[in-house]
Amino acid sequence: MAPETKSREPANTAFKQQRLKAWQPILTPKTVLPTFFIVGVIFAPLGGLLLWASNSVTELAIDYTYCDSREFISATFPQVSSSQPDIKWSREVVATEEFKYTNSGVWRCHLQFRVPSELKPPLFIYYRLTNFYQNHRSYVKSFNANQLKGVAVPADQLKTSCGPMAVNNDNPPKIIYPCGLIANSIFNDTISNLTFQQNADGIPTNNETYILLSKDISWPSDRQKYGLTSYELNQIVPPPDWANAYPNGTYTADAPPPDLSTNELFQVWMRTAGLPDFRKLYSRNDTTALQAGLYDVSIDYRFPVTRYGGTKAFVLSTVSFLGGKNSFLGLAYIAVGIACVVLGAIFTARHLYKPRKLGDHTYLSWNNTQGHTNGN
């Protein structure tokens, strides 16, 4: 009479009955030792490879915070890695009205260094800053992307993104272009091309110049973010710290606002570093090899770092397939690899000497503790 009701019996499938095929490994010395050996065998040679790659990078870094302090940070040259690079210093005060942060005169630092062997292109010049917090929460977001793209963003919109560096104190206020803390504090030291003083044999050359260009130094994707501004000249003023670079601290037809789309140094600077110790690409040469010998470079010293306790350095480097110089990575790999092998060995010894008994259940807690199961 009643319709045949469907059985409520659960289906006997592996999933429903929780019998899915599974691997249930137990982490014992015996089971993990192969893994450790494998990891060791892979990591250690990989580390060696990385170390080799790192060592193949030639790099010279000179801290010129105090210009004559003769402190170099590091210098690695493939042939004479142990020898100290031959660095000489000199400093002169040049009177220049150019872009500077201080009203005092600008230093020009002359650095002389010896390259012991020929360096193959590409060759990169970086500047390195320490203790400079580009990642500070107030600093890092202090720019307006639309303004950089060229849009004439009105002043009231800039205030949220550029904060105190949006408009000047004029009445009516003028828009700062480019606005924001980042743009305002752009690295404004000028690093010259390298001048070939002596060749490897110590014979003076006729001051050949090794040309380095600040081109292709920004990320290609970054370049799309910048454009020629569409502000009227009278709407805008340069950032306060740029004022010295412009007559009366204003943009004029003769001293127009910079074309940010082509100003790669600006683009590099705007790409804020994630950590307070960073270096940024300044210029490069992708074609010519740098011959061994003594070179001169002069740096116009404008960017103040001592005030906040920072340093700046000049870096000359080649690259490997891994990028720049980084022996830590290789060392870390080697260390991990060795550690794994050692652990594997210990486990093997342990297993051979004192293997773990398979579940001798007499050890079980309820057999050893008298208590919760009375009468057993």
């Binding site: 009955q17 137990i26 130094i217 570093a273 110790d277 906040y308 891994l322 001798d360």
Partner: protein, 1479 residues
Amino acid sequence: MSSNNDFKNEIVESSLSPTFVNLPIDHSLTTIKEHNEGTNDNESGINNPVNDLALGRSLTWPPVQPHCPSQSTSSVRYSTDSSVHVSRSPSLSQRINQSLLQKRESLKFAAKKITSIVIGSKEDIIFRKIPVIPEKTNPLIDSKTNSPFISNSITTSRYTFFNFLPKQLYAQFSKIANLYFLFVAVIQTVPGWSPTGQFTTLIPLSVFLSLAIAHEGFDDYRRHKQDTIENNKECSVLNVYRSNDATSQRLGVWRKTKWKNLRVGDLVNVKAQEWVPADLLLLHSKGEKGICFVETAALDGETNLKQKQALKDTNNTVVSPEALANFQAMVCTENPNQDLYNFDGSIELPDGKICALSNDQILLRGTILRNTPEIYGLVIFTGEETKLRMNASKNIRTKAPTIQHLVNKVVIIIFVFVIFLSIFCTTMSEIWNKRFWKNAWYIVGITRPLHISLFAFIILFNTMIPISLYVTMEIIKLVQVYFINKDINMYHVETDTPAEARTSTINEELGQVSYVFSDKTGTLTDNIMLFRKISVGGRAFLHDLDLGDIEKDELSQMSYQRQKSITRKRDRFSYSSIRRHFRNRTLDSLETSENIQMETLHRRDSTLSNGRFSMIAPTTTGPSPLYKCDSISRTTIGSITKDGKDGDPTIHSTMNLLSIIQHKSHTPFGEKARFFLLAIALCHTCVPEIDPITNDIFYQAASPDEFALVSAAKELGYVVMDRSMSSVSLLINNNGPAGLKDPNDATKTHETYQILNVIEFSSKRKRMSVIYRLPNGKICLLCKGADSIILERLINPSEKLGKGKGASSGMREKLNEINLKGNIRVNTSIHRDIAHIITTDNITSSPISFNNDGKRYSITIDPEHSSTDSFPIYDEKWLYSETLNHIQQFATEGLRTLLYGHRYLEEDEYNEWNELYQEASTAIVDRQKKLEQIAEIIERDLEITGATAIEDKLQNGVPETIEKLRRAGIRIWMLTGDKRETAINIGYSCSLIKNHSITIIIDQCFDLNLTFKQALENINANKERHVVAVVDGATLMVIEQDAVLMEKFVELGILCDSVICCRVSPSQKALVVRNIRMKLLDTVTLAIGDGANDIAMIQEAHVGIGITGKEGLQAARTSDYSIAQFRFLSNLLLVHGRWSYIRVSKFILGTFYKCMCFYLTQGVFQLFTGFSGTSLYEQWTLSFYNTLFSSLPVMVIGMFEKDLNYKTLLGVPELYTQGQRNAAFNLKIFSSWMTDAIAHAIIIVMIPFFLHGIIYKYEFRSFGSPQLYELGLTVYTCVVFVVTFKIAYVECHNWTTLTHVTSFLTLFGWFLYQTIYSFVYPIDQATATYDVRGVFQRDGIKSAFWITVILTTFIALIPNILAKVGKNVFNFTDVDKYQAIEKDDEYLQRIIDEGALDTDERFEDNDIQTGKLKKGKKKLYVENYNNTSIDNYSKNSDYNLDDDDEMIIQHHKKYVERQQTQTSIFDTSDVNSSSKSLI
């Protein structure tokens, strides 16, 4: 007028009585006054409301005055409201007034009666009065509210459209975590405050809350839809028209209407198979004698049909719609309440007769009419006031898992940590501001107030508390529930019932249970009652006609269990005992004549077809194997066997009894026996139904006991053929059951017994009586009930000759004495001793002399040689003591005993009593109480008719399950309504009490303080012993009242391995549970039961389990989980409970870990930003972490983790204790995970930073140092790798395909997301702090990136793995151990088998072991424990058993020492059994 005044005075008088002062009386007075005025001042009645009513609404309105004291108001209200006046006739109104006067007379009488009966009635009792006015068009008025009665529409939904959102929001934000996130979300939306975007908390929070709210909303929507369907169902309601001819007769027409339009006072008809639309008063049934049947399954889950019967008066009057249209009456009912089983009310018929209404006349909403063509009914309660709804609305208690407390604690800890971290960072940023930033010329204009800085850090770190925790947990628990529901091992084939989880919130509690509170009947036992023994005339007989059948099933079942090989030895034991027993039985059956063969055949038939004690009418269901008796418990067989073994042949088959009746019917014994069988056949409330096709007789019984009794009577030749309200007709086969097969047998007689009164059973009375007029004209009271109750009411045998009213007091005293003595025996052997105590009087001599007669052995079934009476009745005292002996013995065997008594009543005595009875039975107030009082008058001075014993069959696998639970460290409390002996014996049979147990009996007869003190001392002295405490309901009542005693009792109960509470009421069950729950706050209690009486307990305990058993689904409905059999409890707890516990624990730990690990990287990063609050991650990437890039692995571990396999967990219950100790999730484990998280966070930040040149001086990217986003990308990737691998592989033991797939999906998803993001991220976003565009395209293909990620992942995880390995080697747990063991199935199996050995058997083995171990060492150990295969095994396996000899030996010594102490205790206790007793 004078009569009116009289009436008034009467009422006033009564109202002076202290118990009867209530407001309604005043109402009635004023009303009556109005009446008076109406009749006197305005004879035409035009302005009189009552007359308006009468004239306007019904021409022949009988001026019914309510006989309940408080009703008048509503009729008056009704009339004032009515606005339609059809016609008015002065003569009619006169008539009405006249009859009003008459009515007042009768009302006066009624009121008098009521005042005299209602003593101690509650003051606030108000009655509902429903005038039956078929013609009414306006709704009746509820006197309580002065507005129309509420409509019949019901609302099960909890919300309306408008209050849904506010209510839900309130509910959601009352959760602390949600409130916290709301706070964070709010401060985040303040522009400029948040380092991580403005809406990254608000949006996920809204999503998760919306999910939760939508879920609730969907549920409620479904409820709404169901309500709508239900409210729009159709039913037929009576419409009254006037015929157009001159007679203008009223015609009744049934018209369809929707349920929601039904109103109180409507007359409806319900046809067969239709649902009853509201609570109805049954006026007329087309069934025989006004009887109808309803199925109440939806209401209380009971599947048997219940019989209802219309009052004779109404049934005979309103036979058609026309009659109904002209029917008028006044119905007075109790107020709406939730009592499904009682109803008080009365109806005043047009002729002035007042009839009482009881539950027999009430059809409740939610029931279905069956087996009855049609009924007419009056709607009395509608909508929310129906008993169905009154019952439904109260169950609101929500259970929260215990683990929740810990989670809350953890949330608070982390919250404190977040605050601390924020304060630290704020302080640091202040220091930086003062010392560094002022010199940093490139950062100008940063003037952030302190509080904003603090808020910024709180926002930055807030997500350390996982926002998705609750929602995700809900999801994984649903999956766990799915697996519980789908477990084929918990599927009961016979009843087609899988396990069913009704809640998902407390799955993990199942894995932490420490106390199980179990009901007995229907939970431990099958609730199949088998008539087993009978004691009559001082002899006991065994009714074992069905044992043959049962044995077969038993054998097959055992072989099944053997296949499962869980408890091998045990089964072997019982198997042999059954065989032994069976041999005896076979011999017996050889002796008996072929009658038995035929009977057995017949019985088999009837068992098959009548297997269900409570049968839905066969037409609807047909024979069902559902409740087929499939096995007899081992207890009974065991005890029977023991009897036989002891050479005690007192137990004969009931076949013998039959032949005695047949052949020696005129001996005193024969008379007694026959009368007893008659009593069994008569004293019950079962209704026989005859299947028209097969002519089989089915019984509708209110309880399984009654079904067993009536069926037994049938088997013994007393077949109840028909039963009506007034008579029972029997078919008596004088030749015994053999006659049944032959309808033409001349020895068959039909007898009809007239029922005079039925005093029904109630749990309070514990007895029922029926008064019959026997065919010979005598009036006889038959009473059956619990032995203690009946004993009190027996006539003292010694005084029988001089019996008079109340003459039995002497005997009663003696009985009390005896009972007291019985109670005094407080030891394990109580069952053996009580019988002796009872016979310590002068009675004792009789049985001894009888024994010396040797006649006991001479019972032969030989009709030819019946000249001597082999069954003499010595004297009343002897009979009395023997019967008591038997009852005691039956109880000892774990049988339920019932004692029958009877008394012949004199005509005068009966009439006098009957008057009182009738009066009481029409009472409206406290009828039940009054009936009890009146029954007390007649149920006395009974003579013993005989006693019956019914076997309550244990469910399959109960002892094994209990043993397992015990091994799992779970203490089991049995709470039962049975008496102590029965409870103790069931306790023995289901291994709650062991042979070596110390049993403490707590009895109020003794100084309870002393009892507790001694018991505690004793327990402390014998720590290893198995201790059982037994307490009864009466004692519990005493304990309840004294907080100190309760404290001690709980203390004792906690120490005991098992506690048996007998004779407890449902509320006491709940009380016991509550007390344990309150005392042990951290332990989880579980209550399991199957009946309505367990609901309180089920709701009280942390976890409530319902057995979907025969007592209906009521308990299962209110439970959290329901299973079909008690034995599934072990699967549910040991396997699913444990898995759920492990899963939830690991899930929670994993969730907190992943959040802590990830968001702490932000904290570490602050060191490199000068505590400025810069976020390392882009805001949306950041907020997707919880949902997209870390949720799958934790969910997989929460759904599919198995730290141990099904078989291991079930076979080694000791593993369960992990949950009880909170060993998988506690603050220690939590802190170790947090340490991991912190370490990982530091490693994950530092390694890439190292590589980027913080410590070491240069970084490796040709384009210069990485931008913030690039840096974050590397770190983020490392986090995703480390977290995924740690959770999915290091912490998860069970690596399935799903583990791999989800891990892959997580990693793949992360890279896919990055790829897409790096292409679509907008360039010109005004706040594009993070340089997303194009980054991953570039970095993703760089080897440096990958090398960094791989290195970081390994450095983070290797110490973690090492720690795991170290733990496995030096500090392993049981779980670690068994993970290794279960790799070897054979070894595992052996351990399981070994563990499953009954403790008793281990005790037996003990001596041998001790002896051997004194000589040999581990070799013997190996032999003993591992038999043969372990040697082979140890050779084959990598693992060497020969190591760590010392530990083995040490362990074993301990074991042996323990055993020895125990054995010594036993030795003494065996010698002197009384030493077992504590008191």
